[in-house]
Amino acid sequence: MNLAPILTIARKELTDSSRDRRALYGVLIGILIGPLLIGFMLYQIAGQEKAANEIRIPIVGREYAPILVNWLQQQPGVEIVAGPPDAEKSVRERDSEFVLVIEKDFSEKFRESRPAPVKMFSDSTRQSIRAKVRRLRALLGRFSAETGGMRLIARGVSPSIASALKMEDVEVSNAQQRAASIFNVIPMFLLLAAFSTGMQIATDSTAGERERGSLEPLLLNPVPRWQLVTGKWLAAAAVAFCGIVFTLLITSNVLSRLPLEDLGVRYHLGPSDILLLIAAIAPVALVAPALQVYLACFAKSFKEAQSYMGFLVLLVTIPGVLTSFFPLTNRPWLHPVPIAGQFAMSMDILGGKPPAAWAFVLAAVGCVALTAVFLSLATRLLTAEKIIFGR
């Protein structure tokens, strides 16, 4: 059998698409958005953690409570500055992140061993300052407990009497884990890259061909329809595969440049991780363009086809959303399920427990079979008079 037409068609579609600025931007965005978002989020988390270790506390009325101010100043990474005249307004208008206000009667009440009033103004809708506020609140709590304890000792009472509970706060989510949960979005962005980079060719070479009226002349060449469909799919699949590889390489590069040590996270995507992830995700580069080619054959225009593609992108986010309800890691039965399987396998690889070789093969077989189904459905569509001539 002569298979040369498949390559001829694939080459033509790649040439055509490489001259389409809109298509190139689409591919570029598809590749860059994942790594950049991941980098941005990790950078933010690292920045917040670091900021909480060195806080600057604006205090209004510091002269009323030298004992508290001195104690605070002795804590590591704390700097005291004069607070703004109107604390509430300053916080509301976001001139200050938070302000500590010491009331006039502080020293009097403190001397009389009654609760001495301090007010903290903060805005809990500001995600970025939560870590700092949490630190300040902990410092004040400690001062209160230490001073209270000393007062009890002075009266000959054991401070432990005042504590009915010994509460131990075990915070499960720390910065390290939040950072790790960001690594979990890497598989989702890899799937997105596969869908978004091959999309332009898949739609332009099918729905676009119909829209331009170039499908009829193309079908006049003595090339079997399945070869036409395969050629168009091959071009899209090649781009989708490159999309996955570049997304991974750029992500690895971004991770290596981030100050992840500040988070206590030691993580980088090494060459072996990258190869394993490519092996796990590559089958999506087969099935995604096949599905896109098939769906786009129904569309009469490029725009109509693109609206279908929007729904497909939603499909990709399903495994990502599912992981928040039940973890997709370590579930081998999921591996042969196209897309969900690739997602689950990548999670296992990122978690340091790569699946066995047979799992990779099984997962690929599922995708290859589905690819064949979509391509044969698309071939049947391109034989239908309604599709060829319907405009």
Binding site: A4, D16, R212, S214
Partner: protein, 245 residues
């Protein structure tokens, strides 16, 4: 040579083509003349294999086209009703793409391309992207890619529709050129002047049927009128003729 017997095609309840038969011989230009919607394009689409007739037979150079449509397509060069191009490819790339799909490569293809570019006078624009081409230039490119494999039979569906005088002349030149090479040319049009200027035999189609067939003189004699135009009106009926330009 293209032989068509008793073709029939319906779309829902509409009978588009109803028992069309004709033979287009080598070395002459056969014109399909008829008003819009008479069934010319549908008949041609069945001949070039993109529509399946419900009944009827089609033979291209003696081979059954319905049994092996791909083999028939290598013997056909078609300028279809829709002749869309790829705006981002050059004229030369269009011709080369279709040449490759027809199985041509290397030096023979390059030679064939060069001669088509000369015949169709595309030299000055051959390496430009067709996105900015005029309607006439686009038609020439479509014609060149349809002829790249040097087909024995050539089907042109309203090739001069909407073309300016110069481009129409160029298309006519090409038709005369391939006719002189003893090829079979089938040409459809609803413009009588086009048909009478180019065609040796005329097949008049109306309401999905062949209503008359012969040379211009034979049609005039058959209808008993003074001119081809009067013959056409009397053959297809005044109402249908009124829809023709």
């Amino acid at each position: 040579m293209i032989q068509v017997q008793n073709l029939r095609k319906t779309f829902g309840t509409v009978v588009a083509v109803d028992g069309v038969s004709f033979t287009a011989h080598d070395g002459i230009v056969t014109g399909l003349l008829g008003p819009n919607g008479a069934g010319k394009t549908t008949s041609l689409r069945m001949i070039y294999g993109l529509m399946k007739p419900e009944i009827g037979t089609i033979q291209i150079d003696g081979n059954d086209a319905l049994a092996d449509p791909l083999a028939a397509q290598t013997r056909l060069g078609v300028l279809p009703d829709q002749s869309g191009l790829y705006p981002r490819l050059t004229a030369r790339e269009h011709i080369r793409y279709f040449g490759n799909l027809q199985g041509l490569t290397g030096a023979p293809l390059e030679q064939r391309m060069q001669s088509l570019i000369e015949i169709l006078d595309l030299k000055n624009v051959a390496d430009r992207r067709v996105g900015g081409f005029s309607h006439g230039e686009r038609t020439k490119v479509a014609l060149a890619r349809a002829l790249v494999h040097d087909p024995q039979n050539i089907i042109l569906d309203e090739p001069t529709n909407g073309l300016d005088v110069l481009s129409t002349r160029a298309v006519r030149e090409v038709i005369r050129h391939v006719k002189s090479e003893n090829r079979c040319v089938v040409f459809s049009s609803h413009v009588m002047q086009e048909v009478s200027a180019l065609c040796d035999r005329i097949v008049v189609i109306a309401r999905g049927r062949v209503v008359a067939e012969g040379s211009a003189d034979e049609l005039i004699a058959q209808a008993g009128t003074a001119t081809l135009e009067d013959a056409f009106v009397s053959l297809v009926g005044p109402q249908a003729a009124g829809e023709a330009a």
